[in-house]
Amino acid sequence: MEKLTNRSVQVDRSPMTVSERMYLPGIIKGMGITIGHVFKKKATVSYPEEKRPFSPVFRGLHILNRDEQGRERCTACGLCALACPAEAITMEAAERKPGEENLYREEKYAAKYEINMLRCIFCGYCEEACPKDAVYLTETVMPANYNRKSFIYKKDDLLIPNPNKQG
């Protein structure tokens, strides 16, 4: 049979020589490899004090963006939900009332917007589909939790803080 790789070696079944039966050279050889690793660079980092650098295309937790005046950009067009292969995004739209112009950018907005993080696969298609630059995937890693209910992210969890209200 043709070999899959050229690294396979036939097992040597011949009787052991005297030096092999003493085991000591084998042990020293093995210890050499073990001690050698002590002086090598560590493969691990001490998370969370130390963090690995992320790739620039890393896709983490979602945010809902606001515009320069602090109004919500999302207009509940449903394209993120349409693009979502995991069907994690749901929303309900509402019409902006007179007097709410400082809250919502368009005449239609998402009254409810939810991402089911148990379903989300962080593919980033929602970010690509968004015509209003509203949904973005950040570099934050999704926090873990003990219960399932905390993984339904609502608008309060997703919206970035209003820049005009601080200070």
Partner: protein
């Protein structure tokens, strides 16, 4: 009376014999498929419609058998009747494709492109047309024409900025109702569909202007912002209606009827007009006899997420350990969307922030 001789007409090298007086567009539609030119203003069920949008321009490479000279310019196929031996080029002509690209650019000049907000998105003729024939970007650098928003009654919402001036709704209102209350005011660039003196449109068939509108200028106010077209599932249904035939299409989500429209044929034209009572007031499943899901083309966005022929996976774990699988999370316990006790379809107009207050 002897049978009138039929005219032989060739569209994109496909020949068909049609009765004299047929337009090129209708002859091409008889052949069917891609050779039929797109039409934004022509509507076969509305008399005198057509000739305004210029999307159906075709090249006539041979006028007729008796006079084989080609026509000097592209002609509007919805208004030009066939001659015997006429040869027409639609998709085979580069001139036509180029002209159509220009027409789309002109139609989109003043169009706000607010598709994310518009309720027509997903079933919009202009969206389809520009997707198939348009450019990716506009060359227009000036401010787009806008209009003051106008309230024309509780059932129909008018967005004049989206209008492409196809006049379909004017013909529909004129031909379906005995008293027409809206039409074109002003001229040229200022022309707009409007009702004189803010009159509310009130006639039992006036709701059909929503269906004939190729863009989102006239939309259903009872469906406004309730859901996106592609998240609702179209179902053919009928009911005994004293005013109309009652054959409609329901746009449903679960057991909720979100919208009622007339059934449309393959050319996007209404098969039978429906009355306002069916369209705006019958939003319960029990009002209708549902015939079955509408066949939607695979390429349409409306067929997205509507799985057909699915089989439910059998639960096998109870056969292994004798217990039913445990639900770890009922989504309605935590989710605010699609709450079982709130029916968006039952709200008269679009939902507002007050409709959601205190229910989170």
């Amino acid at each position: 009376m002897s049978e009138t001789p039929k005219f032989k007409v060739t569209v994109d090298n496909i020949s068909i014999e049609v009765a004299p007086g047929t337009t090129i567009l209708n002859a091409a539609r008889m052949i069917g498929g891609e050779v039929a030119p797109p039409a934004m203003c022509y509507y076969s069920k509305l008399q005198d419609s057509g000739g305004k949008c210029r999307t159906c321009l075709v090249e006539v490479s041979k006028g007729s058998e008796k006079d084989p000279r080609p026509m000097p310019k592209l002609v509007a196929s919805c208004r030009t009747t066939v001659m015997d031996g006429m040869e027409v080029k639609n998709i085979t002509s580069d001139k036509v494709q180029d002209a159509r690209k220009g027409v789309v650019e002109f139609l989109l000049l003043n169009h706000p492109l607010d598709c994310p907000v518009c309720d027509q998105a997903g079933e919009c003729d202009l969206q389809n047309l520009s997707y198939n024939h348009g450019n990716e970007a506009t060359r227009y650098e000036f401010d787009r024409r806008t209009f003051e928003k106008e309230d024309i009654g509780p059932y129909i919402s008018l967005h004049m900025t989206r209008c492409i001036m196809c006049f379909r709704c004017v013909y529909a209102a004129g031909q379906l109702t005995d008293k027409r209350e809206h039409g074109i005011l002003e001229r040229g660039d200022h022309a707009q569909i409007s009702t004189m003196l803010n009159k509310a449109l009130d006639h039992e068939f006036i709701g059909n202007v929503i269906d004939v509108c190729p863009v989102g200028a006239l939309t259903d106010k009872t469906f406004r912002f309730k859901n996106r077209v592609w998240f609702t599932k179209p179902m053919d249904a009928h009911r005994d209606c004293p005013t109309c035939k009652g054959k409609v299409r329901l746009w449903m989500r679960g057991h909720e009827v979100f919208r009622v429209t007339a059934r449309k044929d393959q050319w996007g034209e209404v098969e039978e007009w429906i009355c306002n009572d069916c369209r705006f007031h019958k939003k319960e499943t029990k009002d209708w006899v549902i015939e079955g899901p509408t066949k939607v083309a695979r390429t349409s966005v409306i067929s997205q997420g509507h799985y057909v022929g699915t089989r439910k996976t059998p639960i096998l774990i109870d056969k292994v350990n004798g217990r039913q699988p445990k639900f770890l999370l009922d989504i309605h316990d935590i989710s605010d969307v699609n709450r079982p006790e709130i029916h968006l379809s039952k709200i008269d107009g679009p939902a507002h922030s007050s409709d959601f207050k205190g229910k989170a």
